[in-house]
Symmetry: C2
DNA sequence: CTGACCATGGTCAGACTGACCATAAAGAGG
DNA sequence: CCTCTTTATGGTCAGTCTGACCATGGTCAG
């Protein structure tokens, strides 16, 4: 920025910034908080209590405070909505900014959208709005408030794409997980079935993706052979990527 | 947004939005306009004439107008900076939003950054600031104004990554181009050399990436065998991707 | 004890990649 | 005119990776 002073609206002020020679906007953050739970991709939504879009589901979010960045605002809102104390390790990623002039019918609002990935999916129980916050299955969502359908679709697309070439999937898993659970994340987000032996081979052949927890094993719900437990490794990217089935 | 009215700063106004119960921000766009010219990746920069960062190079950009989206603002600024009349077909992509409270020492500014890819690289000659706008080689840039180093680095990383799995490279090329020129785009952006026969094979084996212009051929500067001309095909993504050398 | 279920290991053909070699067509320079 | 350099284009070949399988082993529900 800072190069367009001479074209700033609201007056031809050479001093530009200092005279507020521009239209001020409200800046908010919107959060697409995703988790894999009960065999489905779920998203944290709040029910709107008043117009516009009263009764509709909406993404949690709120205003950016005067002295905080959008990232900080997103973390703050996330902590408030979910009631989680430890949000230091979770994956929070800026999606993009939505700035259509009429996206909020009341006034001009520019919103920075984030995607957050939660492993465990506790029931939301924070202060304030969190009382109305709820996990909903990604499919079979009615139309959301504002342009939140679009934001959610973008979040889904981004996360699905990042699973291909990054180790992001572990962010959906608890600290220790089985390869079956990890595969389930991929299958749920992508909506496709994967071949289990091939998935294992690929994941284990990628150095730093996962590392086995020595000795430990978990019985996945009691059914079948106990699976070995793994932790997320140090790697962040997958080379070569784990591509979606092309069909 | 629109869900955090009760937590809006500046007063516990239940009416929230209508009372401006928030801090207004200035919203700008910053443009990382990239091209491949003279065998190098180049970026359009403007020289700052006043403090802060007087004399430093900065990304072009400006304020978002009251009734326009950030995308529209980016297109408007781009047209003004480059003086191009036809900016309908070029690739303009939102990068991310930079909102650190002190990124501009004068006041709080939230900036939405875009990457634009130009094929031909005409000398900038628009109205207004464009007089000072100039193409500079991507490497050997001194430190830029504000956090524009960071923005430019993010743009480079994004474009480099998108070359792998999309047909974006054709956006750097004129409407008709040779495979050698297309390969040159990859090599310049990635900073690595590619094997020519293998590159050809890969590109031609990807349906919809490029389509040959029948009959036409161009002598690439007079040297060597004339090359066949190609146009961008209808495809947008590369499946499987064209990965960077791992070294 | 048996079958269902899941984890794990292995095989095998086809696709893809990287590293090459070979040839063709043009200009540059003697 | 001939040769060298340069670029485009075509092909080979071995190694790797992938997708589609088959097989085995451990655990629980009957």
């Amino acid at each position: 920025m800072a190069t367009g002073e001479s074209r700033a609206p609201g007056g031809a002020a050479p001093e530009g910034y200092d005279k507020y020679a521009f239209e001020p906007f409200a800046v908010t953050v919107d959060l697409a908080v995703l988790t894999v739970r009960a065999g489905a991709l779920q998203v944290l939504l709040v029910e709107r209590g008043r117009e516009p879009y009263a009764g509709r589901w909406a993404l949690p979010g709120g205003f950016v405070l005067p002295r905080e960045s959008a990232e900080a605002a997103a973390r703050r809102e996330l902590a408030e909505e979910t009631g989680l104390s430890d949000i230091s390790g979770l994956h929070l990623e800026q999606l993009r900014t939505y700035s259509e002039p009429d996206r909020d019918p009341r006034m001009r609002i520019v919103s920075v959208a984030f995607a957050a990935l939660l492993p465990d999916a506790p029931e939301p129980h924070g202060g304030g709005d969190a009382a109305q916050a709820q996990w909903l299955r990604f499919n079979a969502l009615g139309p959301l408030a504002f342009d939140h359908d679009r934001i959610l679709a973008d979040a889904h697309e981004r996360v699905g794409a990042k699973l291909e070439y990054s180790c992001l999937a572990t962010s959906f898993c608890p600290p220790e997980f089985t390869l079956g659970e990890l595969q389930h994340v991929y299958e749920t987000v992508w909506g496709t079935a994967l071949d289990r032996p091939n998935f294992r081979r690929k994941v284990l052949a990628t150095p730093g993706f996962v590392e086995q927890v020595p000795g430990a094993a978990r019985l996945t719900g009691g059914r079948g052979k106990p699976a070995a437990l793994y932790r997320a490794g140090g790697a962040k990217v997958l080379h070569p990527p784990l591509l979606r089935p092309t069909s």
